[in-house]
Subunit: 340 residues, 2 copies
């Protein structure tokens, strides 16, 4: 076989490697005749520049790294979708890694990506990440970094997020306006900023509407899955009969809640209203359909990628780049689970 190189083309055409290279890159200081001949032969031989050599010379890989907690998750797979689609359009490829919510893995992956010399890194933090040295390493290494969704306030870099506090407030307020008198919250893990913020929004809404905050009806999801929603709903049903509204950290948890109450014959929303978060497709098709907060995953991925490419470009030109935080708006989606 043997891969086709510039040398081969030059040899066959009896011209220099330099000229071949220039012709293929459409430099203007090459005669049209030579250019045509080179292009023709390159096509015939199916020439493909050796990206290893190009990378080495240009010091860029046209590749970016993406680290997310887990890909098997509607919200993240949507984001990934947006990122690789947009990246491809802009001439970049994406290497994807999953931290599986492990700080240790996350550290290793950062090292892998830096070794690979990706042009930039896009990342959503694992729930268990508390030490941020690996992120600082990325920045110290001069590799552009954009955090999205699961971010840390302690890292100075560009970010794309939603206003989780406001969104948590809106979800809770909606339950209140639906007439709920005692609202439970199935919150996310204690560490991540966004579950903290949603919780704070919940608390603030109760406060603003003069409702008592009761720590005993705030449950903390660890895995943030269906089973936790189901099991906490059971707890509410058996130990807190007076609860008439539940704000679940995520639609998946909310769907677990709905499943439990359906099972025991508690009427939704008449006896208990439920609202989820993220607007997963399934939330719209279960019975009763689940009210939720729409979290624009696709847009988030796209914006994060664009922001990263801007920084990469500035970085390449040696220009200064001012970090930016983009806050995307969310939307309350009213469905049957909270209908009056």
């Amino acid at each position: 076989m043997g891969e086709v190189t510039l040398k081969q083309i030059a040899l066959e055409l009896g011209i220099s490697i330099t000229t071949v290279s220039k012709a293929l890159k459409n430099y203007k200081d090459v005669s049209p005749k030579t250019k045509a001949a080179v292009i023709k032969l390159a096509e015939k031989l199916n020439y493909r520049p050796n990206s290893f050599a190009v990378n080495l010379r240009t010091k860029e890989s046209k590749t970016i790294g993406l680290i997310i907690p887990e890909i098997v998750h509607h919200f993240f797979s949507n984001i990934v979708n947006a990122i690789i689609e947009e990246a491809e359009k802009k001439g970049y490829l994406v290497i994807i890694l999953q931290s599986n919510e492990s700080e240790e893995l996350e550290k290793k992956q950062i090292d892998l990506l830096l070794s690979k010399r990706v042009d930039g890194i896009l990342m959503s933090l694992s729930n268990n990440t508390t030490n941020l040295d690996h992120l600082k390493k990325v920045i110290a290494n001069n590799t552009p970094l954009v955090l999205f969704d699961k971010i840390s306030k302690l890292i100075d870099c560009s970010k794309v997020i939603i206003d989780d506090r406001n969104a948590g407030y809106a979800a809770t307020e909606h339950l209140i306006k639906c007439g709920c008198k005692k609202i439970a919250h199935f919150r996310g893990p204690l560490n991540p900023q966004n579950s903290i913020d949603r919780f704070l929004g919940y608390k603030k809404a109760l406060e603003d509407y003069n409702m008592k905050f009761d720590r005993s009806i705030v449950f903390t999801c660890e895995k943030v899955n269906f089973d936790e929603g189901y099991n906490f709903a059971k707890k509410i049903y058996t130990e807190h009969k007076d609860v008439d509204g539940i704000f679940a950290i995520t639609d998946l948890v909310g769907i677990g809640v709905v499943a439990y109450f359906n099972e025991v014959g508690v009427k939704i929303p008449d006896q208990i209203a439920i609202i989820g978060f993220s607007n997963w497709f399934m939330a719209s098709v279960i019975t009763p359909s689940l009210s939720t907060i729409d979290q624009p995953g696709f847009e988030m991925g796209k914006k994060a990628l664009k922001l990263l490419l801007k920084e990469i470009k500035a970085h390449k030109k040696g220009k200064e780049f001012k970090y930016k935080t983009i806050v995307l708006s969310t939307k309350l989606i009213e469905r049957k689970s909270t209908a009056f």
Copy 2:
């Protein structure tokens, strides 16, 4: 900043680049003393081999390409999960691309990956791919290729699949054994091998059990989504009242079917039994829970990756590699939607 290179370490230590390189790669012909000094300094300077240069020298990128129809799909995101996890363990990174069911995009992406000089390509074909020249190009280019799930019989390479025909047969047979007398099939698109095979399995089961095959109750899904399941169910309900069993190409379609019958008050499984395909998590939590065929996505991804790495290894050593087709077994999962 300035990246740390072998040269810098050599200079600082007053030894040659060669020796530094050898020391870091643990060659035995380097004195322990030198080795220790090199390693110490490399660590202090946070030395990271420049992968561009390494790639160029070794002619391998330790990166593989993965092309799937779409990542926002439980089955594929599971496969992706398995592939990147396993690849990382073996020291490979994964570049992921989505064809979005477009043959044209698929072609472009193959070109991108070949230009990138990935060490191998893993791929599941788009539903609309009929011309296979781009796959032949991969093989002609000597790049190891493994096809999984959506394969083509016309391409000679390694494959990882399930026996869709048998699985389609099992699903249909299960409905028959549940007492269904007239079974409809909501099949997948006409082109992909696996939807053809599931359909053939359906047909064969009817034949073996002396049931009439009726073309008018076989509907073809184009998008293979919830809405199609819902709409075809409506058609069955309004135009084919005697149908008492439905085999849906996929759980998502099956869930649409269940939603429709729930809505109009048709009792499942008493009046109509339903079985899906793939064993998506949601199938187990809807009401009634959906019987299905378990399709081992995680295992499929893992096996495909392993097979690819074997071929890459053989290829590197210049050894011949015999293509292999691995057929994974599926399992009938009985749930409420087909309970007697």
